[in-house]
Amino acid sequence: MQVTSSVRQPLVTGGKTYHDVTHDVSRQVEGKPSKLWFLAFLTAVGVLALGSTALLATLWEGIGMWGLNKTVGWAWDITNFVWWVGIGHAGTLISAVLLLFRQKWRTSINRAAEAMTIFAVICAAMFPVIHMGRPWLGAYWALPLPNTFGSLWVNFNSPLLWDVFAISTYFSVSLVFWYIGLIPDFATIRDRATGMRKKIYGALSFGWDGAAKTWMRYESVSLILAGLATPLVLSVHTIVSFDFATSVIPGWHTTIFPPYFVAGAIFSGFAMVLTLMIITRKVYKLEDYITLEHIELMNIVIIITGSIVGIAYITEFFIAWYSGVEAEQYAFINRATGPYWWAYWSMMTCNVISPQLFWFKKIRTSIVATFLLSLVVNIGMWFERFVIIVTSLHRDYLPSSWAMFYPSWADVGVYLFTFGLFFTLFFLFAKFFPVINMAEVKSVLKSSSEKAHK
């Protein structure tokens, strides 16, 4: 069944047959959850419960519970928002952009990466909604709904409103893309099951029967969704960066932001995919599907995007000097040497220096090193957003109003809440949904290696 190529590593190792693919992925859904799964799931729910006290306190008392002050009006909330949205970029990038570029190695990681995208966007969207203070009225501020003021419409000149449209479109299109891919795999589980499970997965599979005509339309839909999702994924972080770039705050008011944010988003997204996939492949024994080749290829993407991010940091600094605008120059000197120097240099170390270690083949093919560096990258990317947001605000035009930002327990708690939410959703996904796209892996099982021989 398996044909090996002399040029490339096979995408699926271990001489798997089509039935093995079905069996290896479906047995996770069909078996009883393991003790390890329960432990992990309960931990996530525990974090969620702990964090929800901070969330409820914020909703009850208002956003005065956070450490914000008159000078620093945006801090952890927006940092966490941008961080989660960034993480939510890898899934659609893997499934859409790599589909257009015919990168077949995406097939064994796209399902979990897309799930991660959807959960990360849910976590991200929470922050601006809570930051509204009274989110139950939020629909009037965020959506163009008729109201009793006239109607006084939402402001279409504002990048914050563009964000509402960008994030909600991104979320819903990603969800549809993900679900369309899940339908054939739910049908596989349905056809192996009996009783209640057959009914549930039967409904989830929408009556899929694998007819050639349906597959033809399915392929057409996937290709166009990928074509639509590719500019969409680039537009989302571009628009997130407009939240800053269209303002007149020194340190934010730069035209480099859109490409710089998009590269950073892919960088952090791939790091998070690696963190989760390294654990998933180990726990679910999927080493034959998510091979070292996959990990190495993702690490190469991390080197590229990490280097783009590094160049962007340096360019930003250079342009601040070259612009001759004193406020701009000060904003950058203050970042590197002011009271938040430690945040700036954490960012530089984690994002610019650490990914360069992947130039060594030993490091980028080592699972332990990859796992540790993927954590470092995500910490670095959180600091990047914190540096951009807080250091640009805390020393504004009027020295008498200069201030520092100190997070309150509610800031930390709401961040914890999103971690709990993310992992609760991810563990539920990992138990009840097929974590690998069986149909797509089967479609590359034979052809990918055979073509290489021709």
Binding site: T17, Y18, H19, T22, P144, G150, S151, L152, W153, N155, F156, N157, L161, W162, F165, A166, T169, S172, V173, V176, F177, I180, I183, P184, A187, T188, R190, D191, R192, A203, L204, F206, G207, W208, D209, G210, A211, A212, K213, T214, W215, M216, R217, Y218, S220, V221, I224, L225, L228, A229, P231, L232, S235, I239, M438, A439, K442, S443, K446, S447
Partner: protein
């Protein structure tokens, strides 16, 4: 058209054998009802003689609808219904309307196309599909031949053609 209930199934293990088999079976004058596969087999739609899907056109039209709706909404609200000077800009600040128009184009194109796909392929949670062989979502390709629409041929003859084309099993399947 009345749905027929008696079928002969050819079971194939390999996608390349299947592609040649479809050609052979069709050239021997047997009408194929449908082929069921666990994964998309490239080129299968060509050998089965299916016309290209029109879904791209649906996506384009829904996308255009999204662009028009978004632009109409923004110009109406910002220029005509409640004009306000914001940041010294023109009421109809077209460049500012581009992001929302783009997003709504993508949103409607994606949802419209997927909606058309689900409807034309009869995919819905309460659908009760006819499963010819449970292995067709696992590791086998199932070619279904409708006996009624091939009444000019003997059943044994059809089975011979299927076996000769590389089917590893040939079965009968009837639905009630």
């Amino acid at each position: 058209m009345e749905r027929d209930t008696h079928f002969i199934l050819g079971v194939y293990d390999d996608e390349d054998v299947l592609l040649h088999a479809v050609e052979k079976v069709r050239s021997s004058g047997v009408k194929i009802h449908e082929v069921y596969s666990p994964y998309p087999v490239h080129g299968l739609e060509h050998v089965l003689g299916y016309k290209r899907s029109k879904l791209p056109i649906a996506a384009f039209l829904f996308g255009m609808l999204g662009t028009s709706l978004a632009l109409t909404m923004q110009f109406y609200m910002m220029k005509f219904d409640w004009p306000m000077i914001i940041g010294g800009k023109d009421y109809a600040a077209f460049p500012d309307f581009v992001p929302v128009s783009f997003e709504m184009t993508v949103l409607l194109a994606a949802f419209g196309m997927v909606g058309v796909f689900l409807i034309t392929s009869n995919l819905k949670p309460w659908a009760q599909p006819r499963i010819f062989d449970l292995r067709s979502t696992d590791d086998k390709h199932i070619m279904a031949i409708d006996i009624a629409s091939n009444s000019s041929l003997e059943q044994e003859k059809i089975k011979e053609i299927l076996s000769a084309s590389g089917a590893t099993e040939v079965n009968n399947k009837s639905f009630e």
